[in-house]
Amino acid sequence: MQEIFGLIKEKAEKLFADGSVNRVLGWKKGETEYDRIPSVFESAEELEEFVYDGFCAANLSKYLIRESREDGKIAVLLKPCDSYSFNQLVKEHRIKRDNIYAIGIDCDGKLDIDKIKAAGVKAIQSIEENGSEVIVHTLYGDKKFNRQDVLLERCLCCKGKDHVSGDEFILAQNRVDTTVKDRFEDVRKLEAMTPDERFEFWRSELSKCIRCNACRNVCPACNCIKCVFDNEDSGVAAKANVDTFEENMFHIIRAFHVAGRCTDCGECSRVCPQHIPLHLLNRKFIKDIDELYGEFKAGADTETKGPLTDYRTGDAEPSLISDRGGSN
């Protein structure tokens, strides 16, 4: 991606020089070697801090809700998966398309630092990406990884490396396909369990939740100005000490509120400090929608009606669920 990084930076400098934009939305280095923070650059000089590498996983489209309302045009960098969220936000009239110059950039999969750390890597000095290899330099020597083995889960189920929106594209010469897994595979496994097993599975996952709200805050589909979970009178604004209901409720409602709009961008699972597999909830809705109402990809375009704002007179009845049989 080094080659691409240069091209993107050049492009951004040019956009500043000819005055076509007054801001660029990209990533800059954070505190650690693998921390990349979404950032607004306001001049060519500020671009010195700009980075684009395997850790720039953050989806920038949500920031446009605020940024596109400011004066002047802003350029935004969109990975292929981000371009779906971007479309979805345009469709929902949440961002001002006219104030944005969208640059689609190539992606060869983003790295999962937890997978690297799980291999026993400590005291990271720097991380080098070299084609299909990732070399981690640490105080105790180097450790080499096969890039595919340390990718984020979402990149293994990538929707494809083609953008669905953008004004211009900067693509690598050798484009890599990282998709190796069917994204519904794990949902099917859960569906095959008994209700009690599923209940236990979700209890053990959801009870880890600390209600930091990171999953909600990062989600481009979660974009209400006033969220139900911020209503202090509701008694759901924070994690309850000794209760399972609140956990179930938060997760059911979070996932439900983005049903039909979630682009499966994978940000929620990526940011969860407790490693709760939130994508398994989102993908359940996606799978059900596909099966019941016809295949639907949120964000694939900016016009099609979402499955929950649409209907057919011959839709399945809700009794379909209880008729699935079984003891309860």
């Binding site: 569906e191 599923r198 209760d243 059911i252 109402y293 009845e317 009794s319 309860n328």
Partner: protein, 152 residues
Amino acid sequence: MPVKTTENGEFKPLIVAFCCNWCSYAGADLAGTSRLSYPADVKIIRVPCSCRVNPLFILRAFQRGADGVIICGCHPGDCHYTTGNYYARRRMTLLFSMLDYLGIERKRTRVEWVSAAEGVRFSEVMNDFAKHITELGENKKLEDLRCKKSLD
């Protein structure tokens, strides 16, 4: 906590029924004026249309001690607002499927279409639903201990 046992100690479920104003609520009325019986533990909440029922309402009902939640609306095609129940139908199907996915009993929730003329059907539906919920027993998987305490 509402009394959940009969005098001889049998479990009596608490059921919340969201009924649309234009059909099912009138259906319940008709059941009443026709002297048809349905369990007294069915608590009816009147909503303007079945599509007014937010998934949060259903979870809230369970939180506050319901053992079963049923949503009743006009028959598809007969909604007072033309299409409300079509949207409700999709939402509820997806919500019920999600509850099942979380391992919560699939028979605790139900949607039925009951018109204003179907007093008999209203009482039948409620009796049948109450029967199923009685068999399932108390809602444990979606209970809220905090509410239990304050209601007791």
